[in-house]
């Protein structure tokens, strides 16, 4: 019963957002804070880390609010979501193909990189499969120089 009511509420809210093409709504202090933190970080943040950083400035903010706003930001295309290792991470939206990751399986170091080959690849895949690509996640894992040498 309450279940139904909740679902309905959220469904209706989403429809409203869709139909009215709602613009960005940093109407609340919490929402603004969260978005600021994401932008300032620049790099990938998971929900917990975002919550931690936001809590420093507003100790009363709740984790539920973090998740709700992340979902909203995603829907509005303000942030993008990536799976990095096992965690979901978020970062402020940039151009298609700008956030690609190289992770050392041994020491955990994360290197962000970009390559013109990525654009070529997108073009090729779009053409061959008659697909319009809107998102790309490229994740490479391996061993950095240091860990490679230490392995011996």
């Amino acid at each position: 019963m309450t279940r139904i009511k909740g679902l309905l509420y959220h469904y209706v809210r989403m429809r409203i957002n869709r139909n009215h093409e709602t613009k960005i709504h940093p109407s609340t202090p919490q929402r603004k804070l969260l978005f600021d933190v994401i932008q300032e970080a620049g790099k990938h943040l998971d929900a917990k880390e975002l919550y931690r950083r936001a809590s420093e400035r507003d100790p009363s903010i709740s984790l539920a609010t973090v998740y709700r706003n992340l979902r909203l930001f995603k829907e509005q295309g303000l942030v993008d979501e990536r799976h990095l290792g096992q965690a979901r991470c978020y970062y402020a939206m940039k151009q298609l193909g700008e956030h690609q990751y190289l992770v050392c399986a041994a020491c955990g170091k994360v290197i962000e990189f970009e390559s013109p080959l990525i654009r070529k690849l997108i073009a090729e895949v779009q053409h061959k499969n008659n697909f319009f690509v809107t998102k790309i996640e490229l994740y490479l894992e391996g061993h950095c120089r240091k860990c490679k040498e230490e392995k011996k």
Copy 2:
């Protein structure tokens, strides 16, 4: 207390596996069944789907066994794990770069593809960052022809 004991047990088991370079152990019927199902499927399976298919042949198999063996297979390099959308999926190990995915955000269709550009990209990244790449995940999302047209 019980917690400590459990962790210790698993820690010791892992150390033993590491040190002795344990070979494949499809010693139990359940393990063999699970591996067979993965191989026969060929494509990506998540844990639930693997459990469902395995249950058809051995209705008494448990989900815990599925997860435990998936972990084991992963450790031994028999299967690889990917994040496809929100789910973790598994497939029998092939060559580096052979499993890349293109997913339609609207209808959910999954296309598996490969491109020589992927090898080029690996080579480039390895060289530029002095990294030894052991794993690559490439995930593209967008709209397939049908959904692209229906959008209008």
